[in-house]
C-alpha cells in the first residue's frame, strides 16, 4: 500500500464527515492564524520602535559636560561647563570614527510674529546638527557655515511653530519673527518629524546659529560650550568606536590621569534602542506562546475526534484486517487522517493569519511583517501536532483484535 493510496483513503474518510472535519480543523486553523498574526504584530511593533530610533539616529552620541561640586553638593551632568569650543573642533577634525559633531545650546523663549506669539525651545547650533539628525528642509535652507561664522540673525523653524505663529500651511520664508525682542529672518522650515519615542514634539522648536545664540540670546562663557555636543559616527557599527575615541580624546585634552573621574559623559542612543527592542521581542514571544497554546488545544481536538472515529469505524477496521490489512496499514491510515486534518488546518491558518495581520497592519498603520520562518514553523508545528495527537488513536486502531472488531455493532 503506497502513501498516495493511504492519503486517498484518509481524504475519503474525512469527506464523509465534512462538518466534523471542518470543526476539528478549525482549532488548528485558529491556532496557526493566531501565531502568524501575533508574530506579525510583534514584528510590526518592533519595526516601529526601530524606525523611531533610526529617525533619532542610532549612530548618535551625546557628549555632556561634567558635574559641578560645591561643598559636597554634586550638581549632576551638565551643571558645570567643561567642554570647550576647541574640544568640539578637535572632535570634528581629529577622530576617524566621527562624521559630524555639533554644539547644541538651548533655552526657552517667547517668540513674536506679526500678531501671534508662542513660547518654544530655541536651539543654538550649526548646520552639522541637521546632518546628525538627518533632518531635511521642507522649504528654504538650513543654517549655513557663513550664518554661523557671521552670527547672522536667521532662524530655521519647526512646523508646529510655523502653524502657531503664521497659521497652518503658511509660507514664512523671508518673514521676520522676534526672539527675545530681537528680529530674526526666517530662512527655512524643517520637514515634519512627529514625536520622539518619549513623546516630545520635534517640530515645536526653532534653530538659530550658535554664535548668534551666544551673543544675543544667552551670553555664556566665551571658552566653554554652555550646552551639549551631538556627534554622529560614520555608521551605526562604528558608534562604539567613536565613543571610545571621544572619551580618550577628551581625557587627554582635559589632562585627566587614569585615576581621575571623567568631567564629561558620553551617551549612546543605541543602548536605549536595543533595550526598547528587547521589550518588543519579549512581547512577540509572549503573544506567540499564547497562540501556541491554542495550537495545542487544537491538537487535543484532533485526538478527541480521531478517538471517536476509531470507535465508530471499528467494524471497518475489522473488515480491513480480515482481508489482509496489517497493523501498520491501519496505523498509517489513521495517522495520515490526523495529519491531513492538522496540515489542512495549518495551511488555511497561514492564509487566515496573513489576512488578519494585513488587516490589523492597515488599521493601526503598522508595517506588515509576516516572517517566512514563522510560517514554516507554524505549518511544521501543526503537522507535528497532528502526528503527536493522532498517534494514540491510530495505535489503538491498529491494535484491535480482528474478531472483536468484526463483531462490533
Amino acid at each position: 500500500m503506497n502513501p498516495l493510496q493511504t492519503f486517498r483513503i484518509a481524504l475519503r474518510a474525512l469527506q464523509r464527515n465534512k462538518m466534523r472535519s471542518f470543526l476539528t480543523t478549525l482549532g488548528i486553523m485558529i491556532g496557526v492564524a493566531a501565531v502568524i498574526a501575533m508574530v506579525a504584530i510583534g514584528e510590526g511593533a518592533k519595526k516601529r520602535v526601530e524606525d523611531a530610533f533610526s529617525s533619532m539616529g542610532t549612530s548618535l552620541l551625546i557628549v555632556m559636560p561634567g558635574s559641578s561640586q560645591s561643598g559636597g553638593a554634586r550638581g549632576g551632568f551638565g551643571s558645570q561647563p567643561t567642554l570647550t569650543w576647541d574640544d568640539l573642533h578637535a572632535i570634528q577634525t581629529e577622530l576617524s570614527a566621527v562624521k559630524y559633531a555639533a554644539a547644541v545650546l538651548r533655552t526657552n523663549a517667547q517668540l513674536l510674529a506679526d500678531d501671534q506669539n508662542w513660547a518654544t525651545t530655541v536651539y543654538g547650533t550649526s548646520g552639522e546638527y541637521f546632518e546628525i539628525r538627518s533632518w531635511r528642509a521642507a522649504s528654504g535652507t538650513l543654517l549655513t557655515s557663513s550664518d554661523v561664522e557671521g552670527g547672522a540673525k536667521v532662524v530655521v523653524m519647526g512646523a508646529t511653530v510655523v502653524d502657531k505663529l503664521f497659521g497652518p500651511g503658511a509660507d514664512p520664508i523671508g518673514r521676520t519673527i522676534r526672539i527675545r525682542n530681537i528680529p530674526f529672518q526666517v530662512v527655512g522650515v524643517l520637514e515634519k518629524k512627529g514625536q520622539s519615542p518619549m513623546g516630545q514634539d520635534y517640530d515645536d522648536a526653532v534653530y538659530i546659529p550658535q554664535t548668534t545664540f551666544a551673543s544675543k540670546i544667552q551670553g555664556g562663557l566665551q571658552k566653554y560650550v554652555s550646552g551639549t555636543l551631538y556627534v554622529s559616527a560614520v555608521d551605526a557599527e562604528s558608534t562604539a568606536r567613536a565613543q571610545r575615541q571621544i572619551e580618550s580624546l577628551l581625557r587627554d585634552r582635559h589632562h585627566l590621569s587614569d585615576r581621575d573621574e571623567e568631567d564629561f559623559s558620553v551617551r549612546n542612543l543605541s543602548e536605549i534602542a536595543s533595550a526598547q527592542q528587547e521589550g518588543t521581542e519579549t512581547l512577540t514571544t509572549l503573544l506567540a506562546s499564547i497562540a501556541a497554546v491554542s495550537l495545542l488545544v487544537g491538537g487535543i481536538g484532533i485526538m478527541n475526534i480521531m478517538l471517536v472515529s476509531v470507535t465508530e469505524r471499528t467494524r471497518e477496521i475489522g473488515i480491513r484486517m480480515a482481508v489482509g490489512a496489517k497493523p501498520r496499514n491501519i496505523l498509517a491510515q489513521f495517522l495520515v487522517e490526523a495529519l491531513t486534518l492538522s496540515l489542512l488546518g495549518g495551511v488555511i491558518g497561514v492564509g487566515l493569519g496573513i489576512l488578519t495581520a494585513s488587516q490589523l497592519a492597515s488599521r493601526f498603520g503598522w508595517p506588515m511583517l509576516v516572517r517566512p520562518d514563522i510560517v514554516l514553523i507554524a505549518v511544521g508545528f501543526s503537522a507535528a501536532v497532528g502526528v503527536a495527537f493522532g498517534m494514540y488513536p491510530a495505535r489503538k486502531a491498529s491494535q484491535l483484535d480482528p474478531i472483536e472488531a468484526l463483531r462490533f455493532e
Binding site: 500500500m1 473488515i319 480480515a322 482481508v323
Partner: protein
C-alpha cells in the same frame, strides 16, 4: 499433503476467573478442491473453529498448517499476509465497507497486496462479472439487495485468487430463495476447483456441500462425505419478480 490440516487443536478463553474450553482437541484435514460444511448449534465451537481456520485467531495448543505454513507460530503481520493471499472470507452480515462502491469493495484485498491500480480495477471488474454483478460496479452496498451484497462479498473473496474460501453462515441474513442462489454460486466455484469451507447451523444449507463435519461441545462428532444436493433456484412467481426489481432499485 492436505491443504488445510488441524491437529489436536485446543482453544481456551479466559473469561474472568473461568476458563472456557471452546475447542477440546479438534483434528481435521481438508484436501484441495473439497467443499466442506461445518455444522453445529450455537455454542458448539464452530465459530471458534472458523476463526482459527481463517487465521483470525491462533490455537491455544495443537498445530494448524495451512498451505504448508504453520499458523500456530505466525506473527500478526504474517497472519495478515496469509489472510490476504491464501484466504477469502464471506460473512453472514456481508461486511462490506459502507458508502464505498462495489468495485472498490472488491479492490480492497488487492490494495493491501500492493497490486497496481490498473490491474486491480480490471481484476475487480472480472470478479464482479463472475458473480453476475457486472452491471452494478458503481453501486454502494445500501443500493444493493442482500443477495447482491453477498455476491459482492464473494467477488471480494475470489479476487485475490485464494486457496480457500471461508464462508461463515453466508445465508444467515438471506431469504431462502437468495440462499439457494448463493449456494448455487458456491457449487459453481467448487466445480471450478475451488476449496470451500462453510460454517452453518442449517442442515439444508449443509446438504449442498460434499462433506459434512458436525461439531458439538468443542469436538468433532461426525465427519463424512456426502453427495451434494444440487442447488436449483426455483422460478419466481410473477409478483416476486416485480418485488425483486423494486428491491434492486433500493
Amino acid at each position: 499433503m492436505a491443504l488445510l490440516e488441524l491437529c489436536d487443536v485446543v482453544k481456551t478463553y479466559q473469561m474472568g476467573d473461568v476458563s472456557v474450553r471452546a475447542l477440546r482437541g479438534v483434528s481435521l484435514s481438508v484436501e484441495e478442491g473439497e467443499f466442506v460444511a461445518i455444522m453445529g448449534s450455537s455454542g458448539s465451537g464452530k465459530s471458534t473453529l472458523m476463526n482459527i481456520i481463517g487465521c483470525l485467531d491462533k490455537p491455544t495448543s495443537g498445530t494448524y498448517i495451512l498451505a504448508g505454513q504453520d499458523i500456530s507460530k505466525a506473527s500478526r503481520n504474517e497472519l495478515a499476509e496469509i489472510r490476504n493471499r491464501t484466504l477469502g472470507f464471506v460473512f453472514q452480515s456481508f461486511n462490506l465497507l459502507s458508502r464505498t462502491s462495489a468495485l472498490e469493495n472488491v479492490e480492497l484485498p488487492m490494495l493491501y497486496a500492493g497490486v497496481p491500480t490498473s490491474e486491480r480495477v480490471a481484476r475487480a471488474k472480472r470478479a464482479l462479472e463472475r458473480v453476475g454483478l457486472g452491471q452494478r460496479l458503481d453501486h454502494h452496498p445500501n443500493q444493493l439487495s442482500g443477495g447482491q451484497q453477498q455476491r459482492v462479498a464473494i467477488a471480494r473473496a475470489l479476487v485475490s485468487e485464494p486457496k480457500v474460501i471461508l464462508a461463515d453462515e453466508p445465508t444467515g441474513a438471506l431469504d431462502s430463495r437468495t440462499s439457494i442462489e448463493v449456494m448455487a454460486l458456491f457449487q459453481e466455484l467448487h466445480r471450478a476447483g475451488m476449496t470451500l469451507v462453510l460454517v452453518t447451523h442449517e442442515p439444508d444449507i449443509a446438504s449442498y456441500a460434499s462433506r459434512l463435519v458436525v461439531v458439538r461441545d468443542g469436538q468433532i462428532l461426525s465427519d463424512r462425505r456426502q453427495t451434494p444436493v444440487p442447488a436449483v433456484v426455483p422460478p419466481l412467481p410473477p409478483e416476486d419478480i416485480a418485488l425483486e426489481a423494486a428491491e434492486a432499485r433500493g
